[in-house]
Structure formats: C-alpha cells, structure tokens
C-alpha cells in the first residue's frame, strides 16, 4: 500500500537523473569540439534552455531571499562582532559572545525558555492530538463548527491575546479567579508570583496554539487509509492497539513537523510574556527574544542583541537537528 508514494518518488528520481544529461548537451555544443555536431552561429547563446528554465523561474525568490534575508542575516552577524554607539560601531571580535556567557540574565532567559518548552510543548501537542482524534470521529455532531471553534484562537493577534489574558488572569478582578472562587478556591496571584506567572504563560500559549496543531493532526489523520483500520479490525485489534500500531506511526511525519515548529516557536517566544508579564516577576518569564529586544531597542546595544540572536539561532538549529535525528530515523 505504501508503494504508491515511493513509486512516484522513483519517477522524480528519474527526472532528476536526466536533468544533468540535458545540461550536458548544450555544453558539448558550446565547446565546439564535436566535429559531428551541426554548425551553429557562434555568439548566439540561448538564455532559455531546458536546463536554465528552473533557475530563471526561481530567480525572483532567490533575489528576494538575498536582499531581505541573506543580507540582514550577514549584516547581523557582522554587527554581533562590533560594539559601540549607534553611529560609531567598532570591531570587537568575540567580545559580545564572551559577555553573553558571563551574563546571568541571558542564562535566566534561556532557562525560562527551556522550562516553558519542556512543559508547554508536550502538553499542547498531547492536547492537540486528543482534540484532533475527537474531531475526526464520525459520531461528533456539527463537526465543521467544532473545527472552526478549535482553530479560531490561533487567528487571534498575539498582542490581543496577551491583553485579553492579562484581564482574565488579573488577581483581584480577573475572570479566572472569579471562576475559581465559585469553587471556593482562594485567588491565585497569576502574574505576581514566579511560579504562577510561568503557568500563566503556558496557559496562554496552549490556548493560542493547540487548535493550530490539532488542525494539522486532523489533516494527518484523514490521510491515513481506512483500509489499514479495516484490516486491523478484521485481525481483532482493539482501539488502543489500533491507535498505537496504526495512527501514531502514520502520523509520525506530522508529529515531527509540529514538534520542530513548536520548538522553534517557543524558543522565539516574545509577544505573550511581553504583554502579559513584561518578563516579570523578577525575570521569571523573561525569554531570550525579549532580552534580545530589550538590548536592541531599549538599550540601543545592537551588537549585543545580534550576538544574542546568533546564540539563539545556534540553539534552535542544534535542537532541530536533534529532534529530527531522534524522531525521524527510528523505523
């Protein structure tokens, strides 16, 4: 059954194989060493050949990338090696990176980010999977409406989300504490204590992104061939067995995608804690990107901010590779 995709990929492989061959043809022509070749007027180079068309087609994207991505990325790297005032930067080598290693706030921010990552991402993805399984169930009534409802939070603006939750989580007048009070629970200082502020951020992130991931899982679930389940049922497999042996393995590529994307997203976390807690109390929810922003736009220390950006990029890359290694290779 899983032969079909690989067959298609085989076809792509063939197409790729005759790519270079096609390119070899004009090369030989231009060299002009083939006595058997038909004489062509020299100097008339055809710009659009079978081999060059793909490059012409991707040119706009490449140019756009070069101007708006590659250049800033390179400029930022250069900036991370400099220090000084806004208009008199001078080269400082690795000073910014050395400063970073000795900066307790950087480590605090990194620790906070890691903590949120470890707690929030599994929680959210687990929840998203449950929601997706529910939404995929044929017995659920008004399915499109539920799906829409689950997805809507991820359309809410990040800052709007933050503002909304700062009202909900307010200790004295917040909705959540009011609800808790109905059950006789004492008001929780959601944004005022280090522990609860972190929980608050986790809560907001989970609310915002669970639906997004659930929709991805749903798409994955719907791509699983029904025949697999039918065959399993014929063999007498129960629901748990079917979930573990069919659903999860089939979902693996999408699981991997969501894990990696969520990891990147969490490591770049900014808006929600920025609006909700401003990084407080006492830096309990300070994230690396918030610290980066502060250094750039509050302290005008662009060199140091760039060094932070590169440190973060490195961490994200390493984590990404690790996750793909761990989750992707296993067969």
């Amino acid at each position: 059954m899983s032969l079909a995709p690989s067959e298609r990929l085989g076809a792509t492989g063939d197409a790729a194989a005759d790519g270079p061959a096609a390119r070899r043809v004009p090369k030989r022509r231009h060299s002009g060493t083939s006595p058997a070749g038909p004489a062509r007027p020299s100097g008339r180079r055809r710009l659009l050949t079978r081999g060059s068309i793909p490059y012409v087609l991707i040119m706009p994207a490449v140019l756009g990338f070069a101007v708006f991505k590659a250049y800033p990325i390179a400029a930022s790297f250069w900036l991370s090696l400099t220090t000084g005032n806004g208009d008199s930067q001078h080269f400082a080598g690795l000073d910014n990176y050395r400063r970073l290693l000795a900066d307790p706030l950087f480590w605090t921010a990194l620790r906070n980010t890691a903590l949120i990552l470890v707690v929030q991402v599994p929680l959210m993805l687990g929840l998203a999977l449950l929601v997706a399984l529910g939404l995929n169930h044929s017995k659920v009534w008004l399915r499109p409406l539920w799906r829409l409802g689950v997805f809507i939070p991820s359309l809410t603006g990040l800052v709007a989300t933050g503002v909304m939750f700062s009202v909900i989580l307010n200790r004295d007048a917040g909705l959540l504490n009011w609800v808790l009070s109905l059950f006789g629970i004492d008001p929780v200082d959601w944004l005022g204590s280090s522990f609860w502020a972190r929980i608050g951020v986790v809560l907001v992130l989970t609310w915002h992104y669970t639906g997004y991931n659930a929709v991805m899982y749903l798409a994955g679930l719907q791509g699983i061939p029904k025949e697999l389940y039918e065959a399993a049922m014929v063999d007498g497999a129960g629901p748990v067995r079917r979930f573990l042996s069919i659903t999860l393995p089939q979902l693996r590529p999408i699981l991997l995608l969501t894990v990696v994307l969520s990891t990147i997203g969490t490591l770049q976390l900014f808006d929600e804690p920025y609006v909700l807690t401003g990084g407080g109390p006492d830096n309990a929810t300070l994230t690396v990107t918030m610290y980066l922003y502060d250094n750039g736009f509050k302290y005008f220390d662009f060199g140091y901010a760039s060094a932070l950006a590169y440190a973060l990029a490195l961490i994200v890359s390493v984590l990404g590779v690790l996750q793909v290694r761990l989750m992707g290779e296993r067969r």
Partner: protein
C-alpha cells in the same frame, strides 16, 4: 512511508528551522551607519512634521494656528504616534541614520540622554541656531540634560514633573494625623498603621511584581537625597548608601503592611476609586488627573511637598521631564527650531498648552501666571500648583540619566521586586544589581 520521503521532509524542516531562527537576526539588527547631519538642511520655510503623543500632541496642536500666523511660510503637522510606540519609531529612525524621522521630536528624559549618547549625530545642534540664550529660562536641573558631550544643546525642555505627596485629608483627620507633622517617610511609616486602623486604607500602591518596570517611587526616594543610579561622572551608584536607604524605606512600608499591590491593568485606579489608598506620591500631572477621574472624591484630597526620604533630608524631586528636539536629518532645521522656540519659550503659549493638556511647564516665566496661585476646588481650595512650583526651587538637583538608564531601570525594578515579593535584603540585592549593571555596561562603580 519510504525512506526517501522522510529525508525530503527532514531536509525541508531543517531549512525551515535554520531560516526562521536566523531570521531573528534580521529583526534584531539595526544598521550601524548614520549619516549624521548629512541629508539635513537649514530650511526656513515649508511644511514640518512633529511627533508627539496623546494629550501633549493635542496641546501642541493648539499652538499651531498662532505660530503659522506669526510665521507665514511654515506649515506644521502634529502627529500623535502614541506612547510607547513613539520610542520604537524614533529609535529605529535614529538607528538607520535619521531616515523617516519627523522634523520635531518629543522625547522623554528616560530616552533623551540615551539618544544623545548612542546617536551623537542624530539630533540637530540647536546651539548653532541660538538655543543657548534660553539657558536660564527653565526649571533648575533640566539644562544639563539637553547638553551633549559635544557641549552643544540638542533639545529644549518642555514639561517638568515635580513630585508632590497627594493625600486623603479626610483620612488623616479621621486617624488624628496632622499633615504638618509629616516631614519624612519615617513619620508616614509611623502614622500608617493609625490611618489603616481608622479607615482601612493602606498608604500607597506599588507594582510589586514589577511587570511595568515602574520604580518611580524608588527613584524619587533617591532623588530626594540628591542621588540617582549614576553620579555626575557616569559611574554606577545603584548600590550607594542613598539607594540602600531608599529601598529600605520601601521594605519597611511593605513589611508594615502599608503597601497595596497595583500590578495589572487599572488596579491603581480601582483602589483609589474605592478609597483604599491614603496617599499618592505623584508628580504635577496628577493634579488634574485625580480631579477628572475621581470627581466623587472632590474636597477630600490635599497636596504636600514630598516627605524627605531620610529625616532632615531634601524635599524636592523631579520625577521626569520631556523635551522637544530637531532631527539632524530634517530638511528644515531652522523652521523646526523656530516652532520649538515659539512653543516652549513664550509663557502665553506654554500656559495655553498647560491648560489644554496638563503638561506642567518647565519655563520659569510661565509660573507668573495667576493660575499657579489659584485655589483648586477638588483640593478644598488649596493652591495646589503653588506647592509644585515651590518644589522646583533650588534643591531639585540635576539627575544624571546617562545612556544606560533603561538598563539601570531594569536592574532597579528587579531589585525592588525581590524585596517586595521575597523579602530580600536591600543592600544585598542592590549590590548584585550594581554588579550586573557594571558587567553589562562596562561602567565603573562609584566607591
């Protein structure tokens, strides 16, 4: 799925990962180069734009008709960018060499020294246009802030916010506390429990978790002692004796149960509205703010000069101040300067702005206006503004904000939070804060 499909998606994911991570570099970086004065010109006519925020922008608009009448050929467009959005716009503009900035910029004291230090070529040299002749026209302590390292003037003071102590007169009476007997925070800490017992109100509100990084009160307690985060040479004084005294006052207030937590949107307003705060150490802008927001409490409030941070200490402090500057890349620097001079050095204009926007003027001549000795009904007929003018007398020392003020503010806010939430020792947390500030800025600490 086949092995091949896996390696494809893996590669794509990796590309995604690195691209979006490195994309951070893009948002983080500001171009280092600046053209300085290049591109600017001393044009004397034409349209000029002004960036300001909310009530101040509205007040400035009030000056435009008479200015345009007196200066034919200059058209003024005042834009309200909102606060804090205006800081990002000015910062990005300065960082990209002054591109896209308005001709006239309204800048707060918390940003001005930073801009002047980090972008020495960013704000026009107003001395060249004659700004120095107004040197003695403004409240004491403001002029050093506008003079750059190049000894040139880069802005004119507009607004100054002298500190006062607003207090509930009725509460003090009920508790049998004579306001005249309060000369230091020691006295208030002693009176606080009496007031609380009689009225249920705590003394004041502080943002305990510090999410807004509002440490004005701590800062004021420093300023009352003639101190700040930095000394005149720019050395760090965040762990100095006055700083420890200031944070100790806050700790004592908190330990005595006299502080309400005002973290969160609108909490302070709600507490004041419910009569749960007996005092509000706030600057002059609060005069009209309290009167407008809490009309039901009319007649119950009074103002006194701020109590000294330590017994026998100074009783005046400037909470903050704002300025108008001209962008160095402005094509019409002379026209922009003429607008600034017109708006900020004419008592009639500056008082008109005060009347419409509540921006307390820095111009000393403005205080001759009868409004500064008028009785205010909300304050039981007290001449409230007079008390703030008195605060601006000698003693309101210049405060050295320096280019690293925002970083210092962060460490001060963290230190205060540690004291308020975890009962930390003021001297210890301030020492740690000063050390971190030194590590981050390369500044020396004062002995």
């Amino acid at each position: 799925m086949s092995q091949h499909a896996h390696s494809l998606s893996r590669r794509r994911i990796l590309q995604l990962a690195t691209a979006s991570a490195a994309g951070l570099g893009l948002t983080a970086c500001g171009s280092g180069g600046s053209g300085g004065g290049a591109g600017g010109a001393d044009g004397d006519s034409g349209p000029i734009t002004v960036w300001s925020w909310t009530t101040a922008a509205e007040a400035l608009r009030g000056v435009v008709p008479s200015f345009e009448r007196d200066n034919p050929g200059i058209k003024v467009d005042v834009q309200d960018l909102g606060n804090p959005a205006i800081w990002d716009k000015i910062t990005v503009g300065l960082a990209s060499g002054g591109k896209g900035l308005a001709d006239v910029l309204h800048i707060g004291v918390d940003y001005l020294p930073g801009y002047m230090e980090k972008f020495p070529q960013g704000l026009a040299d107003l001395s060249r246009l004659g700004a120095d002749r107004h040197k003695d026209a403004f409240a004491d302590g403001l002029w050093p802030t506008v003079v750059g390292k190049d000894r040139a003037v880069h802005a004119l003071p507009w607004e100054v916010n002298p500190l006062g102590l607003f207090y509930r007169h009725d509460y003090f009476e009920k508790a049998g506390v004579d306001p005249a007997s309060i000369t230091s925070w020691d006295d208030l800490i002693a009176a606080g429990p009496k007031i609380r017992a009689a009225t249920g109100a705590r003394l004041l509100g502080l943002d305990k978790p510090g999410s807004s990084q509002d440490v004005d009160f701590f800062q004021n307690l420093l300023q009352l002692q003639g101190a700040f985060y930095f000394d005149a040479e720019g050395r760090i004084t965040l762990a100095s004796k006055p700083a420890v005294e200031a944070l100790t006052v806050i700790k004592r207030l908190n330990d005595a149960g006299l502080v309400s937590d005002i973290a969160g949107e609108g909490t302070w307003k709600r507490l004041v509205g419910q009569g749960k705060l007996a005092t509000a150490p706030d600057p002059a802008w609060a005069v009209e703010y309290l009167a407008t927001k809490f009309p039901a409490q009319s007649g119950r409030w009074r103002v006194m000069q701020p109590p000294a941070a330590v017994p026998g200490g100074g009783r005046s402090a400037i909470v903050n101040s704002t300025y108008l500057a001209v962008s160095a890349t402005s094509k019409r620097r002379k026209a922009a300067w003429r607008f600034i001079e017109y708006a900020l050095t004419k008592p009639a204009e500056i008082n008109r702005m005060f009347a419409s926007g509540g921006v307390f003027p820095a111009l000393k001549k403005a205080y001759d206006d009868p409004k500064f000795s008028a009785p205010h009904p909300f304050y039981g007929g007290q001449q409230v503004l007079r008390s703030f003018v008195t605060s601006l007398g000698p003693g309101a020392a210049a405060t050295n904000f320096t280019g690293d003020y925002s970083r210092a503010l962060k460490f001060a806010a963290d230190a205060q939070t540690q004291v308020l939430l975890k009962g930390a020792d003021p001297a210890a947390v301030l020492k740690a804060a000063a050390d971190q500030l030194a590590q981050q800025t390369g500044r020396k600490q004062a002995a």
